[in-house]
Symmetry: C2
Subunit: 371 residues, 2 copies
DNA sequence: ACCGCGTGTGGTAACGTTCTCAGAAGTTGC
DNA sequence: GCAACTTCTGAGAACGTTACCACACGCGGT
């Protein structure tokens, strides 16, 4: 009858006393394991209800060794790629009875390490990580070595030996670049977002196996290079623009590009936030898209269609990427060990109005003069 | 020397053995409480490092009664309002040593109840909840009654007796409506996103104290009504459009509005996803903005400036709302009980190009004819 | 009448930490 | 030289659950 002394939170012994059975029996009735007669089962349930019993997940996790919790470590939840992927993750996790602890790293390796530490202390059952660009990766391999299941999202860390789900970046970037080339562009720039400029050196050009075995930004840069080389176009270092991952970083980078003596006639941006920066800069500089500059971006953000002009994009199956990462992780947690593998989903090129032949503006002027 | 039998995870007794001290001493050295001689302290630390000891947060939480974890229950992480607020929450939480468990409800009260249940089992230290629109709220009051600190985000639940942080919705909506009226609009519609149409009945018109004491959608509707009544304009029920909270719901609602015999010349949308739907529908219908229809939306999404035309919006201090909610919650968890109160932050009207005088299209035509 | 078996039940040991208490060792004060 | 105090240490309880073992009971088969 009397609840435990502390703040009125009923425990199994309390329920057992109230129902007149042993703790073991009450625990079996409430936990749904072992065997309990229907009569006592009912009695225990009633006692639990009247006492407002709530199972203590901590104690349960202590003994079962599983928390039914996943740790998710992302760069920045405000990026459409990440919040859509997160939606895929949380949905799948919930449908299989798991919760999600979220952490942002802002591409900071030390924040990432810190996040991993607290998640390990919390004894999460597994991790979904989008590793920060660059920096030391020791903490990642340490975590993997400790036996905690991990799945990498969007980016790959060679040699880590874990599952990874992401886009077939090299191919998608090559397709995107080809699209621009087919429109007649030869001066094509990329806005990569990485911290150091990604220079596709000639020596990398024909390294076999680099496809899919590299991290996102370099893989996309490689795809860009593939298409350029394939078309016999010149790779200009000044067209390989890397700033930060923020909108204004991309805007600044775009302004630099446009102030070149030979500015590019087309820009390929590596994610939707960067694309936003490119558009903003063009608008500020008074350059018209696609008349003066064609723009092609990664990620089909929800606003891509409404922007001016409607944006041509490489759509990633983002929700599916998140969902698949989660499924893979849960299967590994519950099932056991397959060999880790990379899952590269295909991108889809969606052409809207931001890509066109170069020099359209001139044509329009010509048309105007002709009247 | 020998680690515990199970999967090679060292525990405090393991560390103690290795350092040649008792468990109690090792625990003190590692936990930084009680008093330990500098010499043994060092020895224990070394032992912990060589064994790769990781504290078990579950066991710690069991005994201390605190998990340093917050539960966050939102409608939809893909909505800019929510992911920006979430960013404010996670940042503040992390800076004060707390983690965050995230749950989406999709405005479904039963999912919300389910989420609350698992969060309670996980023994989170507090909750930040954006309650689902409508539905039974028993689970919320039960949770509050159980003594778990809670802060409401964006929406208010009268009588719940908890802190709440959000926008001064009524005032912001009134300001927004007034802006449209000043442009000369008289046929102004709202796209609210609620499930049932929000009809500001005449009886509510002058109820004192409704300001701030009501949930978001009705509060904004009330602000709209305030401004309309103030200007002596007619409130037409067919201009009060409520569908779902998704983009396509708003698009459908907009199409209905535009097919009225007397369509509105201005639309006020209650969040950025809805605004997107409105713009999309206008584009599909071939209506030009602001020439045919002015659009004003809540929330200054990152794309608002780049959309065509650049969007006039009511900006909410979203990050601050999330951050403040988290601060309030943590203060209550750590500090103790102030009286719960409502915190209403001011919105800011940002006019860009999507709002103009009605009938601009006619003017342009006239100008064209004049040449 | 005995054994074997399945079902229901209770006692109790874990899980890994912190907390409480008691005592040992060293230090100070008279 | 003894009491009083501080600093350090260790043994063991506690948190709330599940896992494990033992036992009582009823039942059918040899």
């Amino acid at each position: 009858m009397r609840r435990s002394a502390r703040e009125g939170v009923a425990t199994i012994p309390d329920v057992a006393r109230h129902a007149g059975v042993s703790t073991a029996t009450a625990a079996r009735a409430l936990g749904g394991y072992g065997s309990v007669s229907p009569k006592t089962h009912q009695r225990v349930l009633v006692a639990a209800a009247t006492l407002g019993y709530r199972p203590n997940g901590l104690a349960r996790s202590m003994i079962t060794g599983t928390t039914h919790t996943l740790g998710v470590v992302l760069a920045d939840i405000e990026n459409p790629f990440f919040y859509r992927a997160l939606r895929g993750i949380t949905d799948t996790a919930r449908s299989r009875g798991y919760g999600v602890v979220l952490t942002n790293t802002d591409e900071d390796a030390s924040l990432e390490r810190e996040a991993l530490t607290t998640l390990l202390e919390r004894r999460v059952d597994g991790l979904i990580v989008c590793p920060a660009e660059g920096g030391d990766r020791r903490h990642l391999s340490d975590t993997v070595d400790s036996g905690l299941p991990m799945v990498l999202l969007d980016r790959h860390v060679p040699g880590l030996g874990v599952d990874m789900v992401g886009l077939d970046n090299r191919r998608a970037a090559a397709d995107a670049t080809r699209c621009l080339i087919q429109h007649g562009h030869t001066r094509i720039a990329i806005v990569t977002g990485g911290r150091e400029p990604v220079l596709p050196t000639p020596t990398q050009r024909n390294v076999p196996g680099i496809q899919g075995s590299s991290v996102t930004t370099p893989a996309r840069a490689a795809g860009y290079r593939d298409a350029m080389v394939e078309a016999g176009l010149e790779l200009r270092p000044e067209y390989l623009s890397a700033s930060g991952f923020h909108r204004d970083d991309a805007a600044a980078a775009t302004e630099v590009l446009m102030n070149l003596s030979e500015p590019p006639t087309a820009v390929l941006a590596f994610d939707s936030i960067l694309t936003l920066g490119v558009l903003l800069a063009l608008r500020r500089l008074g350059r018209r898209c696609p008349d003066d500059v064609s723009v092609l971006g990664f990620d089909d953000a929800e606003w891509a269609e409404v922007v001016s002009p409607p944006l041509s994009v490489v759509r990633q199956p983002v929700y599916e990427i998140g969902s698949k990462a989660c499924t893979l992780l849960l299967d590994r947690i519950e099932g056991g060990g397959r060999r880790p593998s990379q899952h590269r989903l295909k991108g889809q090129l969606i052409e809207r109005d931001s890509t066109a032949a170069p020099g359209t503006a001139v044509h329009e002027d010509a048309a105007l003069l002709a009247t």
